[in-house]
Symmetry: C2
Subunit: 365 residues, 2 copies
């Protein structure tokens, strides 16, 4: 049956249990704790005054798509036609479009393990077969061209959730070339772009006109509850993309679109990146006292840590941490067949992270 392979977010079971405690430190949360720019709030207030309560056109406000195009020019020196950008209900909506547009029933989508679980669950819903590609620290948790066989599309995450790793420009180019050569659709999840702490990753569009780019306002722009994402669609898929979006979304949330017109507040966004960088630097250093961390994350707000010295069961160990020291983390079973890792999010202020480390010291020190 369609949903037989559907997996829950196991961390939700832990969060139910976490409600029994009043002093939980949440290192499992996959959204920023920081608010969007004050300009976004102001734009929202204006949109309410202007009674922006109707549907927009399916593609979304042209003005916002033009601003997104401008952002690609500025960041990657890419010229994107605003008409090739569609606004979607969260980046979730963009994945639904991307998979439905490129993959027929029973065709294969290559996905990294570890990787974001929704990829495979979208695939299950759409009757697509996932093809898991094991990635390891030896390739910075990246898929390499030689691993691409028997697939119609490739989903990459750059930076990746849960590992925080980035594709080098060379590797991304090699992958894009391989995909183009073999007629594989390259779908690049770039939702965490902007939240990178050394090098800026490339956009897959720099190396392939056929690449499908997915991003949104939930992470870097700190607007998760606004549910606004975007997809850049190659011209040959555009007609179907618009037809499909008309039918399955109508349009993305209107107030969110008007609010996002002010989201490109780069001074504020730089401060967001700096805040997360400080947290990353602290948490990466401090956690190494208790866990093996194969790779220092270069982006996103996650640290992927090996717990095999303590346990072979990430869920049980996460439960143990919750019960013993009231620290909530995400077990690796949510992301991988490998059950000996935890994902730590640094979506908490530094003092909270430090308090969590004190608790680790008391239990594991």
């Amino acid at each position: 049956m369609r949903l037989d392979s559907l997996t829950p977010f196991y961390v939700m079971q832990l969060l139910k249990e976490a409600q029994h405690y009043t002093n939980v430190i949440h290192l499992e949360i996959g959204q920023p704790d920081l608010p969007p720019s004050i300009k976004v709030t102001e734009a929202l207030q204006k949109a309410i005054q202007d009674q922006r309560f109707s549907y927009t056109q399916t593609e979304g406000l042209y003005e916002l798509r033009a601003l997104i195009a401008k952002h690609y020019k500025l960041r990657y020196n890419l010229s994107i036609d605003p008409d090739h950008i569609l606004l979607t209900p969260g980046s979730s909506g963009a994945f639904l479009l991307a998979y439905a547009l490129t993959l027929d029933i029973a065709q294969r989508l290559a996905i990294a393990d570890p990787g974001y679980p929704s990829y495979k669950n979208f695939a299950a819903m759409l009757g697509i077969k996932p093809r898991f590609i094991e990635v390891s620290p030896s390739t910075n948790y990246c898929i390499t061209p030689d691993q691409l066989q028997n697939t119609h599309a490739l989903q990459i995450s750059n930076p990746a959730n849960p590992t925080g790793t980035i594709y080098s420009k060379e590797l991304l180019q090699a992958l894009a070339q391989k995909c183009d050569k073999e007629g594989i659709w390259l779908i690049s999840d770039e939702l965490y772009h902007g939240l990178t702490y050394e090098e800026q990753p490339a956009c897959a569009k720099e190396f392939s006109h056929r690449a499908i780019i997915i991003s949104g306002f939930s992470k870097y722009f700190c607007m998760p509850g606004f549910r606004l994402g975007w997809i850049i669609v190659p011209p040959e898929l555009l007609d179907n993309a618009i037809k499909l979006a008309q039918n399955i979304f109508l349009s993305a949330p209107t107030l969110s679109q008007y609010a996002a017109l002010q989201a490109f507040d780069y001074e504020y966004l730089d401060s967001i990146t700096q805040t997360f960088k400080k947290r990353r630097d602290y948490l990466y250093e401090a956690l190494q006292n208790y866990f093996d961390i194969p790779i220092k994350p270069q982006g996103a707000f996650y640290i992927w840590a090996d717990i095999s010295r303590y346990s072979k069961d990430s869920f049980a160990f996460a439960k143990y941490l919750l019960q013993q020291i009231q620290v909530a983390v995400t077990p690796s079973i949510d992301f991988s067949k490998n059950n000996q890792f935890l994902r730590f999010s640094f979506t908490q202020p530094l003092p909270k992270l430090k308090e969590a480390l004190n608790r680790f010291a008391s239990l594991l020190g």
Copy 2:
């Protein structure tokens, strides 16, 4: 291929052409022209002050789901567990859940012709086979139990878009019993409940515990751009519904959920219904001077009119009306194999409707 049968909204082509004119009267629009209650706007402003910018839990705010449950008690004397209600990104999100939860690849979904085109396009996306059931004025454009063969699920619309017709309580009960007896999932689109002008339709849940109910805030509550719907899920589907929603939506837009906490402003809602009723009464009466209208609509904000005395091609005739008198309407090809109808929306104030009728008089009188 998956999307081979995907159809566009043909009316969008007309709307592109409509941009060449400055004086178009839009009788094709499928959303209310009236704003939501002022209390909704106030709730929105408070939500912004309170910085409600994060994801909610996947099911949506419990408080809002409890209010929806209360609404079912008040309107239908139904006791619904708020935990069986999930908030979705528009009612669109609810259809996606309903179909993915109940229908495997290549299984059949029965749909009325004429009917809302997204049903069949959702089905196409999910690899589900539509089974069109022709409905006619003889049954008030309703599907009857004897028409149900070889299907795994039945989609009904009550009131229906594009015909504005309603299932009698007796017919709905008979359909629900037949579905329960044959193990057919009954999916009831009740998005236009509240916008009914004589009798209040029943909720399918009154007659079947297994019925799946879909509704939302876009029509009666006048909140289309908020993209907020809901689904009532039978207990046996609930686990999968939550797992799926976690993966494919994360959550419905947060500000919209807080705003909707004040949407059940019944005094205001009654005024909305009355406004649409006056328009329906006027337009139904007046249009009959030029078109054959098989059934007076009992709900929604549409009139389904036969144009066979003028044309056998609804798209060409709609184009003719736009070019000659700048009135935009929706051709029946968007809803039906029958190409000799038009859908008129009364989502315009009375003076605009009267002006449209003057134009019809000048052209067709």
